[in-house]
């Protein structure tokens, strides 16, 4: 029984990171129809910036806050310098632009930071908490709580605030949103900034467990994209469920079947789901909204 709990805690922790990356995809996809493959790079930037600020003597909390702000700025710049000038280009071109941006960011990180693997200390100690025989790291709870908090805040933002509703309106119908006086360009910029901030937060929360280096972004983007597709691209709840499900499938397969088939099992489940429900688990919501 303790094994099952151990696998669940492992799967949830990894899954929460996937979910946050998937949420980042969703935020930008909703506002601009672009699948932003530089999403993993935001996670990397969040982690790496915190590491370097912390090593330079900045208190951890301040380093984390600064890292999120810096990454959000990078997200805004990505939109202003790369995506916005190409407005009117086809979605495929825009996606290719984001792939280019991810390679660029990775290259810059290699020069600005370095090529080594890094970590910073966990927020509240490294001693595992034992729950019914399963050892859970305090940092895992931070990742789970942090992830839940981010989803909660964004939910409130989108349902209760005028700006949040304006972003949703832009997502639904850009022309109509413009006609009612919403600055759609600003909403897109906001989406990129938010998405980058969410990615950076994921990096800050997860780095004490997962470690980080300049090239962690690619793998995370792939898993996050898979999670977003599983839950249906563009649905925040789908990102949450898709991410956690992906993490749990990986952990269960590695624990009960064989670690060799871990990734294969995850992708088989995704393919099966997409075969039966081409829009993903939460696909219907998209159909209704549009």
């Amino acid at each position: 029984m303790y094994e099952f709990l151990q696998f669940v805690s492992s799967g949830m922790t990894v899954g929460a990171v996937y979910a946050l990356v998937a949420l980042g995809f969703t935020l930008i996809y909703n506002a601009s129809d672009v699948v932003n493959f530089a999403q993993g790079e935001f996670v990397m930037l969040g982690g790496m910036t915190t590491v370097f600020l912390y090593d330079a003597g900045t208190p951890l909390w301040l380093a984390a806050v600064l890292a999120v702000m810096i990454t959000a700025t990078v997200g805004v710049l990505l939109n202003k310098l790369a995506v916005e000038p190409a407005r009117g280009a086809s979605v495929v071109s825009l996606i290719i632009i984001t792939i280019g941006a991810s390679i660029f960011l990775r290259g810059v990180a290699q020069i600005v930071f370095d090529k080594q693997i890094h970590r910073f200390p966990a927020f509240t100690g490294e001693d595992p908490i034992t729950v019914a025989g399963a050892a859970i790291l305090p940092q895992s709870l931070w990742v789970l709580m942090g992830g839940a908090a981010i989803f909660g805040v964004l939910y409130l933002f989108f349902t209760r605030s005028v700006i949040g509703k304006a972003v949703l309106a832009t997502a639904n119908n850009r022309l109509a949103a413009k006609l009612v006086g919403i600055n759609t360009t600003a909403m897109m910029t906001l989406s990129f900034g938010l998405s980058a901030a969410v990615g950076a937060l994921a990096g800050v929360l997860a780095t004490p467990i997962t470690l980080t280096s300049y090239d962690v972004g690619g793998g995370l983007a792939l898993k996050g994209f898979a999670a977003a597709m599983l839950g249906s691209m563009g649905v925040p709840a789908g990102a949450l469920v898709g991410g956690l499900l992906l993490g749990l499938i990986e952990a269960m397969t590695a624990g009960y079947i064989s670690s060799d088939y871990k990734d294969a099992a995850a992708f088989i489940v995704i393919l099966t789901v997409l075969f039966v429900m081409p829009r993903g688990l939460f696909g219907r919501a998209v159909a209704e909204r549009v």
Binding site: E3, I117, T210, A251, G255, S259
Partner: protein, 378 residues
């Protein structure tokens, strides 16, 4: 008159083909950038430093050494192109390089076809077995790392182990070698798990290993961030078994990443890593201390095992060219094969026509991490 000018032209052509008789052109193909940059970067720095050192002392046989290097970015295709360029355009006399096994295997045929002595800096046993008459290597093999770990296990009276290996080239190759050689040491591998190169949590695999009956120790084959995470997860789960890592993570960075969890971890490492702990009369003491001081003074970063491979490759090549008295390929090759009893930072090299690495198990020191530092187990 006509004949004379023809002669003059052909003499000029010959001079162009041999840019300068009084220089030794040494080629290098290294992965200075890209995913294997942690290998190629210290290797190139080491070569540049040593070439300068040799030239300051008057070169080899009075001839200046010129280093011509290309960065393959870890891409075997590109490396192959550069290898051809080294041979055809740069007309190098000898080549050092191939930071990874993949790159080495891609470029080796080029040097073999042109009969140019080539010393690789990559680990896998396939580079020298089957033997290629023109290809040598200075790093120890992953098979030797397995043997070294198994020797230590046997000394501790342990015989059944669980393995957890990275799915990258290094982990896969070492896992195969360990499984292959385990029988010779009476070691039984009762659990065998893997993890992906970008995985961030190995607790499921370790939980299964710990739950397997009869596991007495765990061996982790891999490099990069994987082993650090495995070590942390191992401590998190409170698994009370000896944990062995491979030579792939033998660096201070590993202790830093794994933190307190690294306490008690054992791994086979080179003398270079524990230069401070070597006895004064240790045969490697002088060469290790000198290289470390020179490298760290100049580049202001900690010396790495990988730079050490380049150090040994360069001196073996330099000595071979010196004793051959020329840069004739076959003569240099024979001189490399004649290298015996030469002590480098990686170990004592005893090359022969059948052994193009020349290291034995004594090149590995079994190390244990104690109080956040290294200690030598004997």
């Amino acid at each position: 008159m006509r004949l004379k000018s023809t002669l003059a032209v052909s003499a000029l052509a010959m001079m162009a083909a041999n840019p300068a008789a009084a220089e030794i052109r040494l080629g290098a193909v290294l992965s200075v950038t890209g995913p294997a940059s942690f290998l190629g970067d210290p290797e190139l720095k080491t070569l540049e430093m040593l070439v300068e050192e040799v030239n300051a002392q008057g070169g080899i046989n009075g001839e200046e050494v010129v280093l011509i290097h290309y960065d393959d970015g870890g891409d075997a295709n590109r490396a192959r192109t550069f290898a051809t360029r080294l041979v055809e355009d740069d007309e190098v006399a000898a080549v050092i390089g191939g930071s990874t096994t993949g790159v080495t295997m891609a470029v080796a045929p080029v040097f073999e076809a042109n009969e140019i002595p080539f010393i690789s800096l990559a680990g896998a046993v396939v580079i020298i077995n089957p033997l290629n008459p023109w290809v040598f290597k200075t790093p120890h093999t992953d098979r030797m790392a397995c043997e070294s770990i198994f020797t230590d296990l046997t000394a501790r009276g342990l015989s059944s182990i669980g393995m957890i290996s990275g799915q990258g080239g290094f982990g896969t190759s070492m896992r195969e070698q360990c499984i292959d050689v385990a029988g010779e040491y009476g070691i039984e591998i009762v659990a065998d798990e893997t993890y992906g190169p970008r995985d961030s949590d190995m607790t499921p695999q370790l939980t299964s290993i710990a739950a397997t009956d009869g596991v007495e120790a765990v061996v982790n084959a891999g490099f990069g961030q994987g082993p650090a995470i495995v070590t942390r997860n191992f401590a998190q789960l409170g698994i009370d078994l000896p944990l062995y890592q491979s030579h792939g993570v033998a660096s201070d960075a590993f202790i830093e990443l794994a933190g307190d969890a690294a306490e008690g971890v054992r791994l086979p490492g080179t003398a270079l890593l524990v230069a401070d702990l070597l006895a004064e009369d240790d045969p490697q003491h002088a060469v290790v201390t000198a290289y470390r001081a020179a490298y760290e003074d100049r580049f202001e970063e900690p010396v790495s095992t990988f730079g050490g491979y380049a150090h040994d490759a360069f001196w073996i090549m330099a000595q071979a060219i010196e004793s051959a008295g020329s840069t004739d390929g076959a003569a240099v090759r024979d001189a490399i094969e004649a290298t015996t009893g030469w002590v480098g930072v990686t170990g004592e090299f005893n090359m022969s026509p059948d052994d193009h690495m020349g290291l034995d198990l004594s090149a590995f020191r079994m190390l244990e991490i104690v109080d956040g530092g290294w200690s030598i187990i004997d």
